[in-house]
């Protein structure tokens, strides 16, 4: 089971943009190891992973998940505020450029505090993804797409995007 850092896809513009949310919970044990000013916080590295999963799925949909999409570079990541238990995080990812070799994405991280209604922008993340089968000359990878495993299918199905995976066998 892969560790998922998004709960739900809430918006998708094909080949362009994907938006996902995550509800942060005290049931996540890792939070208890990160305390700032007496408050548990979600580590920035996991916020980056959430964006990587959001943007990675977006890049994957463009090839109907035929390509193995691997996070290759965190170009930039900056955060202005912390995220804590009870908050909801929103990852809004956009493809800046994509070709056979890989993709560049940029995106915003927004936070809605517990009990609040307004979204507040708290970070920006730029990433690079590699289509590894096209970039690792001489290196062979398993034929099946190990990047987008079954639990990603669950998230795609919940968002009505399940067909994107099925089409790879069409």
């Amino acid at each position: 089971m892969r560790w998922l850092w998004i709960d739900r896809i809430v918006d998708h513009e094909p080949n362009k943009r994907l938006v996902a949310i995550k509800n942060v919970s005290l049931a996540e044990e890792h939070l208890h190891d990160y305390i700032v000013d007496g408050q548990v916080v979600m580590p920035a590295s996991l916020l980056i992973e959430g964006m990587a999963q959001t943007a990675g799925i977006l890049v994957g949909t463009t090839s109907h998940f035929k390509e193995k999409v691997i996070l290759a570079k965190i170009t930039k990541a900056s955060f202005d505020s912390e995220v804590t238990a009870g908050d909801t995080v929103r990852y809004d990812a956009t493809i800046d450029r994509i070709d056979d070799a890989g993709a560049a994405t940029s995106g915003a991280v927004d936070r809605r505090v517990a009990g609040g209604e307004a979204w507040e922008r708290i970070g920006r993340i730029e990433l690079m993804f590699s289509h590894i089968d096209n970039n690792m000359a001489g290196t062979e990878f398993p034929e099946h797409n190990f990047v987008f495993s079954d639990n990603f299918q669950m998230i795609l199905d919940a968002a009505g995007l399940g067909d994107y995976v099925c089409r790879q066998d069409a």
Partner: protein, 128 residues
């Protein structure tokens, strides 16, 4: 756009892509040996040059790719005469002098690509 303007914009591209200071980006600085570029950075640089200069760059046009797949070009990890001639023909923006009569290991190919190579490339590309 003159060569100085291109160089200045390439400095910004490499500052953003590699996180290096602009004063490190000298004309003779090697992207790999001096500025620490890795394979994925080359893709990043291609994307940024396309955006900055509004040009379209095909895969393998700016940086050589998958050379080792061709036995005529690479033998025992070294560039053959045919491989070197092919590179010179396809990549006029790179100075391959380092390979003339010396170590032709393709591992050193990245070292031959300098900041000047990128400026040359853009200059040729903009000249159309």
């Amino acid at each position: 756009m003159n060569r100085d303007d291109i160089f200045s914009k390439i400095q910004e591209v490499l500052d953003d892509a590699l996180g290096v200071d602009e004063d490190e980006v000298t004309p003779n600085a090697s992207l790999t040996a001096d500025l620490g570029a890795e394979s994925i950075d080359f893709l990043d640089i291609v994307f940024r040059i396309e955006k900055t200069f509004d040009v379209k760059i095909s895969q393998g046009e700016l940086f050589p790719e998958n050379l080792a797949d061709n036995d005529d070009w690479v033998a025992d990890g070294k560039l053959t005469d045919a491989g070197l001639e092919m590179l010179k023909g396809r990549m006029a923006h790179v100075d391959f002098a380092v390979f003339e009569g010396g170590d032709r290991s393709i591992a050193k190919l990245g070292d031959a690509i300098t900041v000047d190579s990128l400026v040359n490339f853009v200059e040729i590309k903009l000249a159309g």
